[in-house]
Amino acid sequence: MLVLERASRTTEDIDIFWLEGDAFQQMRGVLSECVVTITRRYRLRPDWLNYLSQILMQNEIIIPRGKLWKRYGPLHIYIPPKAYMLALKIMAGRDKDLVDCAILLPQTNIKTRQQARQLLDRYILPQAQEKNLEQIENALNRLFQK
């Protein structure tokens, strides 16, 4: 989604969160057929459509209501708020995530460390913040003055 935010780097995969569990169960076959067809047609990596983050994080975050971006028949694609993307990047805290944070920060109203903490409170559940405390602190230290 950072591609939509004019990031200087291209994306490696498209991270998605599947919003309707029942629909996944019903559409699994069609989805797989589509993904594999696109993988082969464009010689992409097999993981170009990636929901591993959802499998890993669904108990840790509050998924906000997104803005409808595209509709392809029954497939509706929603774009999450930038602030939410920023919160997830702060929690991930890797070098490349901090680069992405620097792109996203000016596009949000977050100016201070305290505001960033409030943002985390909005989207990241307390137990997840506690578990990821060290990387969150490191990310905040590198993004904001103490």
Binding site: T10, Q25, D47, D95, V99, K146
Partner: protein
């Protein structure tokens, strides 16, 4: 929140996608290729990110091939290309150490030690940030005078595998599954 059954199906579907034989016919996104992308002006984490996806994802069975070819020096070396060349060499040594892959000789070339420290942060003058980076940067980077912290190659592929491993061991509580995976992550990456 998705049900455990949906999550199980999603995991199964993902595994099926990974088995697609078309991945074998793709050109490998090697470290040499990543560095070429950097020298050509791409954002460094575009090439390194693609390399990382190959290393942990679709080409994890071909790791030797991902790092064996030496980097090609650009026609005109700059501080920028020199730094990222050193970063690539350090990354190769770091990853080879952790995954029991023989480290290629080219990565140990003293040329890839920087003449002056590179503080890989937006706040290079902040003593607290420097202290943190000195204390947390893995040895293959620090030896080359690159100070970048220790969250470089953490990735969702391994975390996913470790959560699956935890489930296979009979762990069902989501918190315990996370703790299991996180402990594994710390043991491999140090953070």
């Amino acid at each position: 929140m998705l049900s455990p059954e949906t999550i199980r199906l999603m995991a199964q579907t993902y595994e099926e996608w990974m088995q697609d034989p078309s991945a074998l016919s793709r050109p490998l996104e090697t470290m040499r290729w990543a560095y070429q992308q950097i020298c050509a002006g791409e954002d460094p984490w575009t090439g390194l990110g693609s390399f990382s996806h190959a290393w942990y994802g679709y080409a994890k069975g071909r790791r030797v091939a991902l790092v064996s070819e030496p980097l090609v020096q650009p026609t005109q070396e700059t501080e920028y290309t020199r730094r990222w060349g050193a970063f690539c060499a350090a990354s190769v040594e770091f990853l080879c150490e952790r995954y029991d892959i023989p480290c290629p000789e080219w990565a140990r070339d003293p040329y890839y030690t920087l003449p002056t420290p590179w503080w890989h942060t937006q706040q290079p003058d902040d003593p607290a940030v420097r202290d943190y980076l000195v204390n947390s940067t893995p040895a293959p980077f620090a030896r080359r005078d690159i100070f970048c912290g220790n969250r470089l190659f953490q990735n969702k592929y391994e975390m996913y595998e470790w959560t699956q491993e935890a489930r296979a061991k009979g762990i069902t509580d989501p918190g315990e599954i996370w703790n299991y995976a996180r402990d594994k992550e710390i043991s491999v990456h140090g953070a």
